[in-house]
Amino acid sequence: MAAINRDDVAHLAQLAHIEMSAEELDRMAGELAVIVESVKSVSEAAGDDVPATSHPIPLTNVFREDVVGHTFTAEQSLSGAPDAYEGRFKVPAILDED
């Protein structure tokens, strides 16, 4: 697993529209590096003979019947949006970005 550096964090922050100060970028790069390191140690423990696990409990087929439940109003849907227009989320131009 590749290490995470400050540029990676800045790039992700831009994609996710999260504003981060230089100080925050430094701190986050350090914290994420620790997490990546920790995950790496798991990879070392699990050899080729250990199947990948996506869920800790051996459950299958947890289903829901096809019955309509609750919904939001447009107002509720947009209540946390930074910007909206005519009942829809308004987002910055897309192609200007990475």
Binding site: S54, H55, G87, V91
Partner: protein
């Protein structure tokens, strides 16, 4: 900038096309793939959503059982194997059509794989298309690009997002590379997408309306010189959303690739956008295999296991496949290939089947639907089945004609009356006074009048030129406003003139 193209014929002389398709089918479940919000097209934006569709923190998706069953049915109808166990995966990307920054999809464990579909081309040639996989995923929200030119993403100032479509269950059907189609590639492309659409509609698992995006096609095209085994570099034309457009887009890309290869340049592996107005494609985002979606198993969902019992239960519910049904009906009805193809193309196969079930012969049913109803439907700009003719009406009209109560011309008029809501055929015949005149009295009067009006014709007939009788028959029919039985009129004229028929 307009791309250079070669003529299709020249492209075919020099190169061999290889195709591939990704067809997305929206399922018509009542609710979304992972949430209980309604799966409904065209409502007020951002109202068919709840916290799961909006990707709120801390929410958990739950799989729609009906969507799984529909997916298995699609897999079975495509002659696929159904995975005993499979999982969902996260496909990570940053784009505002998903509020979660990932799409829940399937990656290396599709629910269905290794299938095929036999595609019949217009001349009866059967071409086998191999299916690589059919996997489940969720649809994304709908973006509208504002400002800039004509709603395109290029030059837009901002975009608006409606998440009503977010989370709608999708099945993506991916073919293996399709080789050997040659110059029939565009036709095969259209026929393949048409066959997939017909199958999911027949299964009842999708509304299958291409104009609403229920069935969407991405078409991959590459060319290689004849005789070379290795594939050329492909382009992927996105969202080709009508059957006609699929055919045109494949044809155009073959012509464009051929021109690029002829110029000695390599084809660029990229996404192309189809433009219906100019019938051309333009370059989209360049796509390299470096695109990394960082797929990983979805930790919020547990695996799906499809027991063989469950699969067989579902298989038992499958309707007769469309192609098999067509073969059976054509044989039962005794139509020629051409007659049957016309019936299918006119979209009245189901209606003819119902009419025959109601008691008409196959010949009579075809005569009415193809001869009378299809034309009226075209004028009214509706599907023939939507015009409002029911099979019983046709059976009744035909019976009246066979019994000599009305003639074909009148029957057509009665049909107009039925469509205008004037009542049953019998009532309309009565109201409009349309019964065939069979009492010889009024007919003889009309015949005498016609003979007097055209004495030279009468003489010709007396002199043995019986073929001249048409003019007199015509006069009588005109006088009786078409309500006389032409055969009887002819007999009476000959009698009157003392000539042997």
């Amino acid at each position: 900038m307009t791309d250079a193209t070669l003529s299709f014929e020249e492209a075919m002389e020099k190169y061999d096309p290889v195709l591939g398709f990704e067809v997305h089918v929206e399922l018509n479940t009542k609710t979304k793939m992972f949430s209980s919000a309604p799966n409904v097209f065209g409502d007020e934006p951002n109202t068919n959503v709840n916290e799961v569709d909006l990707g709120m923190p801390g929410v958990l998706p739950v799989v729609n059982k009906t969507a799984i069953e529909s997916s298995i049915k699609i897999g079975l109808a495509l002659n696929c194997k159904i995975a005993e166990t499979c999982r969902f995966a996260r496909k990570n990307y940053f784009y505002p059509d998903t509020p979660k920054n990932f799409q829940t999809s399937q990656y290396d464990e599709p629910i269905a794989y290794d299938g095929y579909l036999d595609i019949e081309l217009a001349d009866g040639t059967v071409f086998r298309v191999e299916i690589e996989r059919a996997h489940m995923e969720e649809d994304a929200g709908k973006l509208t690009h504002m400002g800039g030119a004509t709603g395109r993403i290029q030059g837009a100032d901002y975009s608006l997002v409606d998440y009503n479509r977010s989370g709608v269950p999708l099945v993506e059907i991916v073919t293996k590379p399709i080789e050997g189609a040659g110059s029939r590639a565009p036709e095969l492309a259209k026929a393949y997408v048409a066959a997939v659409r017909e199958i999911v509609k027949n299964l009842g698992v999708s509304d299958a309306k291409m104009e609403r995006g229920n069935v969407r096609c991405d078409a991959n095209v590459s060319l290689r010189p004849h005789g070379r085994e290795r594939f050329g570099i492909r382009s992927e034309t996105k969202n080709v959303n009508s059957l006609r457009a699929v055919e045109h887009a494949v044809r155009y890309e073959i012509q464009r690739h051929a021109a690029v290869l002829d110029s000695g340049e390599p084809v660029i592996q990229e996404t192309r956008h189809w433009h219906e107005d100019t019938r051309t494609t333009t370059s989209g985002r360049a796509k390299s295999d470096a695109d990394d979606y960082r797929y990983f198993p979805e930790p919020d969902l547990v695996p799906i296991t499809a027991s063989r019992e469950w699969v067989e239960e579902l298989r038992a519910t499958l309707p007769e496949p469309p192609a098999a049904r067509r073969k059976r009906l054509q044989a039962d009805w005794g139509y020629s290939d051409l007659e049957f193809r016309d019936v299918v193309n006119a979209g009245v196969m189901d209606e003819i089947e119902e009419t025959i079930a109601a008691g008409a012969t196959p010949t009579v049913a075809r005569k009415w639907w193809m001869g009378e109803i299809v034309g009226r439907a075209k004028n009214a700009d509706v599907d023939p089945g939507q015009l409002g003719v029911n099979p019983a009406t046709i059976v009744e009209l035909n019976k009246m004609v066979e019994e000599g109560k009305i003639n074909n011309k009148m029957a057509s008029e009665v049909l107009d009356g039925v469509l205008a809501g004037e009542g049953t055929p019998a009532e309309i015949v009565e109201k409009r006074g349309l019964a065939v005149v069979s009492d010889d009295g009024p007919l003889l009067e009309a015949i005498d009048a016609a003979l007097t009006a055209q004495p030279d014709v009468a003489d010709k007939i007396r002199g043995g030129k019986v073929q001249a009788i048409g003019a007199i028959v015509g006069g009588v029919m005109k006088a009786t406003r078409g309500q006389a039985d032409a055969g009887r009129v002819r007999e009476l004229i000959l009698q009157r003139l003392g000539v042997e028929g």
